[in-house]
Symmetry: D2
Subunit: 461 residues, 4 copies
């Protein structure tokens, strides 16, 4: 952990640093970001000490000024000397403060009063100020596309097989709804992250030497950071609130990956219903110049594969012996990467979905590909409703016949002797669906629109 010399971005080992690094996210999630939040906590403390008459205003001013000058590099140098990260930070502040005021720095605090509260504050902020806005942007793009494509008929697919029709807007509305729900969860969970200022083992041992209401004192310090205290803490904040937040971030990654997977499958050469728009100079393959690869959607899936298993690290860190052990020290430093990957995924997906091309000709072609055999479901349903004793089996056999003879399903139905009576009992609309199953979309477009409108309103888009 020795301080090191000049550094090139490409000396980095993690792609989150040399390739998917995002300036907005790094403000909170980088080590510099962490330092600045730890300094905020130290400052919050002296402000409250002043308010409670323990230290003079000048001390606050000096310490505020000192905090504004402390650099991470300087703290790491001090840490190299004394082997303790927070004590190093405190020393760096103190050096810039008059001797007489130094004692107010970190007063009654333990390291993790500072670290855990700083983490709560910065994860809260990065979610509220970066991740949620990025996801809401994506939601906006999905809503606009859904409203535009609410009536565009598309074959519905289950098991990769043509099932019955929907609309493309309906397919996208799924993601509006799932993502919208997750955005709301993220907001709630971020707002609930607790801090702590209860000392070395959580029993306010030190602060109760000076305050009759150490819990009140804790609440005041944390209020400066926009946080509330944990109901009970030890040396550390109980990990569950943060764990829940990262679970939800992982859930978001899964939704984005699912959307990405759907889009890249719709982009298969044989399907061709959508496409990533290509840049003028973009190269698809180093040797196959004709290729138009879904690289952005593939990236979405790939980032999810990075993110999903890492939640197990977070779960492992739930276990800390007695009033804490430090076996989460290195591992907890990696949590920010989870958020950063999801920010990166989200922004890229927004850019890609915004320029998504929709190929109406291919949508129509695919819908007609099975020559009407997708009418099997409405036929079965209608036969059953009309009292056919074995409707499912009858229709299964008719589809086999259509497939064997390579004829349109409509022909088979209307040519089947047993069907005649049933067809007569149907309404014209019902018969029309059997002839033209692309009408068999249920309430797909209405639902698509309703879902889009609801979330548009919710997010004020």
């Amino acid at each position: 952990m020795k301080t090191r010399g000049p550094f090139d971005r490409f000396d980095c080992l993690s792609p989150i640093d040399y390739r998917y690094w995002d300036e907005e996210a790094a403000e909170y999630l980088s080590e510099n970001g962490f330092t600045s939040y730890k300094l905020l906590v130290e400052l919050a403390l002296v402000k409250v000490l002043h308010r409670r008459g323990i230290c003079p205003e000048d001390a606050v001013k000096e310490i505020e000024e000192a905090c504004s000058q402390v650099t991470t590099a300087e703290v790491y140098e001090e840490e190299d000397r004394i082997w303790h990260d927070i004590r190093a930070l405190v020393n760096c502040i103190c050096r810039k403060v008059s001797k007489v005021y130094r004692r107010f720095v970190h007063w009654t605090a333990t390291s993790f009063d500072t670290s855990d509260s700083a983490n709560a504050a910065r994860y809260k902020d990065v979610v509220e100020k970066v991740l949620v806005p990025a996801l809401t942007d994506l939601e906006g793009v999905l809503i606009a596309t859904t409203l535009r494509e609410a009536e565009t008929a598309q074959i519905g697919r289950t098991h990769g097989q043509h099932a019955v029709p929907i609309t493309f807007g309906f397919a996208l509305a799924e993601y509006i709804s799932r993502l919208g729900g997750s955005i709301e969860e993220l907001k709630e969970l971020a707002a609930k992250l607790p801090g702590k200022f209860s000392g070395a083992v959580g029993a306010y041992n030190a602060s109760s030497l000076f305050f009759g209401d150490p819990e009140g004192f804790e609440a005041e310090v944390l209020a400066e950071l926009g946080l509330a205290p944990a109901e009970h803490s030890t040396q550390i904040v109980p990990p569950e609130a943060l764990t829940r937040l990262f679970c939800e971030v992982t859930i978001v990654a899964g939704i984005l990956a699912n959307l990405s997977d759907d889009m890249r499958n719709l982009q298969r050469t044989e399907i061709g219903e959508v496409g990533e728009e290509f840049e003028v100079a973009q190269v698809g393959s180093s040797t196959m110049p004709q290729k138009r690869n879904p690289i952005n959607f593939e990236n979405g899936k790939s980032c999810w594969k990075i993110v999903a298993p890492r939640i197990v690290t977070v779960f492992m860190d739930q276990i800390s012996e007695h009033q804490r052990d430090l076996t989460n020290s290195a591992s907890a430093r990696t949590y920010g990467e989870i958020v950063a990957y999801v920010v990166s995924m989200t922004k890229r997906l927004t850019r890609t979905m915004k320029k998504l091309t929709v190929d109406r000709a291919n949508l129509r072609r695919n819908l007609e590909m099975t020559k009407g055999s997708i009418a099997a479901e409405p036929l079965y349903i209608l036969l059953a409703a009309l009292g056919h004793p074995d409707a499912h089996e009858k229709v299964r056999k008719l589809t086999l016949q259509a497939s064997r003879e390579g004829r349109p399903f409509e022909e088979i139905i209307f040519g089947d002797a047993e069907m005649k009576d049933y067809l007569q009992k149907m309404t014209p609309h019902q018969r029309q669906i059997l002839s033209n199953p692309s009408l068999y979309v249920g309430i797909a477009s209405k639902k698509a629109t309703a879902v889009a409108q609801r979330w548009k309103q919710t997010f004020g888009l």
Copy 2:
């Protein structure tokens, strides 16, 4: 998947079936439990059909009677013939129903209208009726012990090292608070599990053939099961609500494992502060008759190791292509095991904590083990408050001296020339803490009691 002959419990491969099987949990989580919930969904459907005037009351009665007779074994036999699980279930019901009423069974439904709604209902029920009550029992035991031990001084430990004192009740109150929070989350998440009755691709294609308000129809069917519909579904319910529930179940497992780890460490031969009570005939080791192993706490940790990584399977299942693929078919069948392991852990932990022995002599011995050097923190804090320019460093050196000379820390402090002035400026209580640091417990006992009382009230215990 062929039906198999007679079966001995010990022919099972999974310990959840041959060893940790719990009758209460199995009512919901076994394959028999799943069948019974699927039948409930099919019955809910015909009840609504009747209410809407589509089928006569006799149909409902016949189908209800039929459902009460269908066995899982029978369904599996039919599935062996036709290779489709829900169609097999429907066939088994239909066989027991008059020909004329058969068509009402599964009317307009797709398989996953049945399966996913059945899953939502049974996971809701098992959480509300088995897991939450079991956890609340444990909470009750923790509360009782905390209230009893609120004032029992114990050395607080960080990094496995003696830090500053707390009380044993305070240590337990941590778990009351963490577990209490999780119980409340579980209740909320279980209550929010949605069902669906929107047909093959979620667009109400079939049901809209018959109903002007297919969403109203869906809501009515699900209301019979105590469920609300998903805002948007495809062939399947969007997976996030269930994923969140299993995340919380995994979180609970982590809390239980942490408690178990703390208890088994306190039971180390050298520490000996608590003990699992032994049964009269219990054997500790097959060769070392003197052993008193913390096997129940070890079991808690071990079950957590089973459970935690499995959340990744749940996250993987979030991704389902287009209106669904079936690549979650086998994997989703394993989710119940997660809940079952946590039920098993919880019940065992309750039994063990209820009989936990607390060794006050060892608690006292450990507290005094470091000859007062745990007074280092209050000394540092007080010196700093009194304006010592380098309090932390001064105290660090005094502790090194105490350790080098093997003398009580109190002696070192009161014998140090530089300390004299500072000691005089302290209050008698402050000096007393330096002499007897077991008084330095902050508000540990008050906090322990408050936390215990709050949750006692919340859960009406």
Copy 3:
């Protein structure tokens, strides 16, 4: 863990017990299987005691007879009484043995001499006798299909996009090679699983009371089971050998899942190059009678999602404090499920691949779908070879032109002024490839055949 009454298979919670249970695998992996292997270890011990002159032949006979009668149910009943599994087993044996011979049972052994050695022996056996043969069967099916389809042209796909041609046999040969390599690894790893007979903490404390060469004694006991001793053990065998085996089993699952994924994608309605053969009575969907779902390939993918994350449980169990803790007790009982799921996947995949239908018409149709633009790569390569200064960019523009104008790529190439000179410098075969890129298959068929033949020979198929 109380003994329970009569039990219906569908009271099980784990699908490995009620749905994917395999009789062959259960012989080793069920709790009954484990009991029988533990009894084999106890028997091996007395055989060696007899050989070393410590106990008479009659003792061996009596104990052998006793072991043949002990049931798992009986052991569990005894465990319910005394709370120790191996001591319960020992008691059950002893009850069936003359008092005078009882002391030879479990002589100098610790529980995990029995358990860990039994596990090594049964995992070795199940891999060698069930998993490897099942995988070799699948390998045989893949080899036969590869040889049959070695020359069947297929479009190669990267990123879901048409790239350049291969043959279907070549595509399958990938899996022969990957699977073949894994089968060989499995054999090696299974053969290397060590046992132990070194007593309570691994230092031969007990056995060295009686034997001058306790390590020789250990080797003799284990040789009876076909095992060698670990170089160093504590109460338990070091976990790495077993961990490596489960890593390889997980790797196998990944290969099977990849094959399954490829096949189900080739079965998409729009692609249709292969198909799962349907049973005469098979139902594809409960409401869409025309569906032909790739349910077996979906199952393959799904079982992989069960298996892959569980390796983390195995890794977690690597950590055992000091000479062991028991926090792997419950978790290690679940390892057999990993193997059992992979056996189940393998057998199902073999059945499905054996009846795989290959649709040559669709293969040809797909190959011609892009109207020759897959010739972009050979054109670029040839232009570059002939000294074109910017071949990749030139070809990229030609493909854009073809796509814009909707004309065959061949026409574009042969109509382009700049191309004329280059085309003249090409060999006739090279020009032919540009006109008919389905010839551009490299050495696909030769490679497919060579790979298939190599592994056919290796496995004597």
Copy 4:
């Protein structure tokens, strides 16, 4: 992925970059390291083209010179323009090469011929040149300490309870053996990593346009890099060889974490058998100056929690559709971090173990703590051997008596009427063990020495 301006190390998000970065590892694992290996592959290609008479020596020279000048930053700038990483690299080389030679760059290659071969070569190298040497250093420290402490008696612990004695050297020898085995596996697996040069879909489509033996050509190119070709490849090398390597790296992490856990537990205040040596200026806690925390061992455990779950990402990447999809693009870039964390753990652990202090007084105190009741096992074994009909139960009761009466176990044994006869039949050595159970160490010291010597020799230490 836009190129970014000046960059401070503490703008990094990943602790592997700002905190645990290791210069030696970064040479291979950083993005700069990757670039240099990709350039090596491109150079290997032209060398072989020259050897086969396709390009002149001057081309090789120019390209070699060009490769020596290409920077990662430059490649990223070009990638920002054309959106393809390898084509960008190729363009950067070509710009520095005479027009006439440009066509030889990347001749017949596809991107992943370059990327996958570069990865194979650099992972091979980093394992052979950094990880294995670092692990061997640690092995050396363990061996030296084991030889020094081979006879230092220590209480063996199972379940955190005192079991029977071993020696401290014996406890460490466990890790020599486990680690030694892993080092040998790592060497084997690194040496087996295959490369590929088989073109866009693996069928040598392009290279077979020019070479009659495209497989021979591939082998030559790879030989330049010290690699052999995969038996079968598609666009990518089959992932299994690399997956096995990362499994073993994860296994190593588990061994290191287990060692760390043991050491930090032995450092508990109540146990105190070992200690991390403190630096003169080192601070243990920001508020508790007396603390001596096992921060290095805690770091070892924590890094393992980072590493272990990430293997699931590697397993997920095993699945790549058809001849490949790109959903491993981002995720595969994170693999190097796994290796880097383990390098960092290893080096830190070596430094810490080298200065480990062993507290012989505490070792002795702990051994005597249970007043001889650890003699329960030898007593039981000896009684059984002497024909006592119920030895285990008898001894269990004697230990309960000792514990109840708080008397030394020796007194209880020698005072028990029933024991008299048995004691007389024992050898003096056997009786001596019952009086002084610290003699009951089996062959612990002999074994410790033998294991240490074997591996010392193997690694030439």
